[in-house]
């Protein structure tokens, strides 16, 4: 399905490169022992750059919440309305949230709290993006 294709920048390139290898990674500050997503040039808590590293995630999470878009400002999404906007809380650190459309799940039928795992779908032939599917 066509969707806006993320344009990696100097900070985000490792994340998007990892997606293309079907790996979900986030930043971690070794000084604070805090994960952060989206990635930034420095740790949000201590401001450190040197202590930021990329770490693997379990790729598992839970559905944290859901709303339904009926009137998007993003032209590419308008033909698909209404569609799910779902928040995923990462199992490793539930404060870390990802976005999802939960493909295949009808609007109003998103089971908040359900376990999910990451999959990767094409935003373009050159770029995979993380999506999520219900497990169990």
């Amino acid at each position: 399905m066509p969707r806006p294709v993320p344009v990696p920048d100097a900070v985000s390139k490792p994340f998007w490169d990892a997606c293309n290898e079907r790996r979900l990674i986030v930043q971690r500050c070794s000084a604070c022992d805090r994960r952060q997503f989206p990635p930034e040039a420095t740790c949000r808590d201590c401001g450190s750059e040197a202590n930021l590293e990329w770490v693997a995630t379990s790729g598992r999470g839970r559905i944290h919440g859901a709303i339904v878009m009926h009137d998007s400002r993003i032209k590419m999404w308008q033909p698909l309305q209404p569609y799910n906007l779902v928040g995923i809380a990462l199992e490793d650190d539930p404060a870390i949230k990802f976005m999802s459309n939960l493909p295949g799940v009808p609007v109003h039928e998103v089971p908040v709290g359900a376990a999910v795992e990451v999959e990767f779908i094409e935003a373009s032939p050159e770029q995979l993006v993380p999506e999520w599917r219900i497990v169990g």
């Binding site: 066509p2 969707r3 806006p4 294709v5 993320p6 344009v7 990696p8 920048d9 985000s12 998007w16 952060q36 997503f37 989206p38 949000r44 944290h64 919440g65 859901a66 709303i67 339904v68 878009m69 009926h70 009137d71 998007s72 400002r73 993003i74 032209k75 590419m76 999404w77 698909l80 209404p82 569609y83 906007l85 928040g87 404060a95 870390i96 949230k97 990802f98 976005m99 999802s100 459309n101 609007v107 908040v112 935003a123 993006v129």
Partner: protein, 427 residues
């Protein structure tokens, strides 16, 4: 972005508490849009009307004005409320030969077009309105000027704005647009309803009450152009924008301008209107813990705002007679109400409170201004109402009982300025 002041949780009592006062307010008529033709309805023309009205209200002449602060485009960071006029459309004869006066109004433009000769403080870097009132109060308190015009233009041209036609998602949009994310204000509201066992329908009494109050604001959009009350059925059948956010939870973009005159408490004594003293202002700028705002973020941020207001003003929830929290999405007003615990409303109780008597005649007159939902996206109704309530000139909106202290603020849970006003300087 204008300088954010008094942001610390350890904020103390404001050094100029009660020494600065609002003494005049002026509103242009509110239009839905500018048609690109009627030069009496440009944003600049409406700003001149508003500024003249504010000076007239205070009994101050243009020569006495020595400061002007604006948030030129209506949004933080110099962003425009709506779309720019150019570059695809030709500009007009001066003073409408640039964007200034059409899609924004700078302090410099206003000084020039009003022929203000004695201005020593010119600031076109006001943040959004809610921060700018505090920035203006600080400037007067610090002696940078004595008679300050605070101008807030809100423009709206034909067509839809902020439409994104890109097939790429650069910068911050790389984290949102691949999933079509938007209108994230709906997300914590959905969480709220789940957490506290409520639903969107229970917003109806609040929306209807705001429209009713707004119809009593003579310059407001609805009083001027759609002077009828909403029904519960209207609200419940409004189309979804991002469920559970419907069209009637959103404020109506408008073409309007408003202006306030702020001065020192000493000078205020001799002016036409009863002074409305500024006791405190505080500002907050937050970021979600992760990729989007959650209810946990929202409640933590708004709790911190309330703590700051109480520390900064030395007051408590029970002191607030007039409460005008921002509503320019109606879905987040409840977080402010519950954080400040106005009339004892605690987390999860706002919708029960809405179901009671929140009318201006009743015991719990919430948002007596009607806010944006009742007047359109001028954003200024809440400040004007605080003034008018404390001065006793709110007409049919005048609340009963004690009216010494007023609290107004916005713009969002993520980013807000709050100002405490009083009819007495040492309250």
């Amino acid at each position: 972005m204008g300088e954010l002041l008094r942001t610390s949780e350890d904020v103390g009592i404001w050094e100029h508490r009660g020494k600065v006062a609002l003494v005049g307010r002026g509103h242009s008529p509110v239009y839905r849009r500018w048609d690109g033709k009627d030069m009496t309805q440009t944003l600049g023309a409406l700003s001149i009307l508003a500024a003249k009205a504010a000076m007239e209200d205070a009994g101050v002449t243009p020569d006495q004005i020595d400061g002007v602060i604006t948030c030129p485009g209506g949004q933080s960071n110099g962003a425009l409320m709506g779309a720019p006029w150019g570059p695809g459309r030709p500009y007009f004869a001066a003073p409408y030969d640039t964007e200034d006066g059409l899609s924004k109004v700078t302090a410099e433009w206003l000084v020039r077009e009003l022929g203000l000769k004695n201005v020593k403080y010119v600031n076109s870097d006001g943040d959004n309105l809610f921060m700018m009132v505090g920035q203006g109060a600080q400037a007067v308190g610090d002696g940078k000027c004595n008679n300050l015009l605070i101008l807030y233009p809100a423009g709206n041209l034909e067509g839809r704005y902020q439409q994104n036609e890109s097939t790429n998602a650069p910068g911050p949009t790389q984290w949102t647009n691949p999933w079509g994310w938007g209108m994230g204000i709906a997300y914590p509201f959905a969480e709220y309803c789940r957490k506290y066992g409520s639903n969107h329908d229970r917003m109806a009494p609040f929306i209807l009450n705001s429209r009713r109050n707004g119809l009593m604001v003579p310059w407001g959009y609805y009083a001027l152009h759609e002077p009828y009350q909403l029904t519960t059925e209207d609200y419940l059948s409004a189309r979804w924008i991002c469920e559970p956010l419907s069209m009637l939870d959103c404020d109506r973009p408008v073409q309007a301008s408003a202006c306030y005159l702020m001065t020192t408490a000493e000078r205020a004594k001799d002016m036409k209107q009863k002074p409305v003293y500024v006791l405190d202002y505080t500002m907050s700028s937050n970021r979600p813990r992760s990729n989007f705002e959650t209810l946990e973020d929202t409640e933590a941020w708004t709790d911190a705002m309330a703590r700051k207001v109480w520390k900064g003003s030395g007051l408590h929830a029970s002191d607030i007679d007039v409460f005008n929290p921002y509503d320019g999405f109606a879905l987040f007003t409840q977080y402010f109400l519950e954080a400040f615990q106005w009339h004892g409303v605690k987390r999860g109780e706002a919708h029960d409170f809405y179901a009671g008597d929140i009318s201006v005649e009743g015991p719990h007159p919430l948002l007596p201004s009607g806010g944006n939902i009742g007047t359109g996206r001028t954003r200024t109704a809440i400040f004007t109402d605080c003034m008018e309530q404390l001065q006793g000139r709110a007409g049919p909106r005048q609340i009963s009982g004690k009216r010494e202290i007023a609290l107004a603020g916005g713009v969002l849970p993520v980013n807000a300025g709050w100002t405490v006003f009083s009819s007495i300087p040492d309250a």
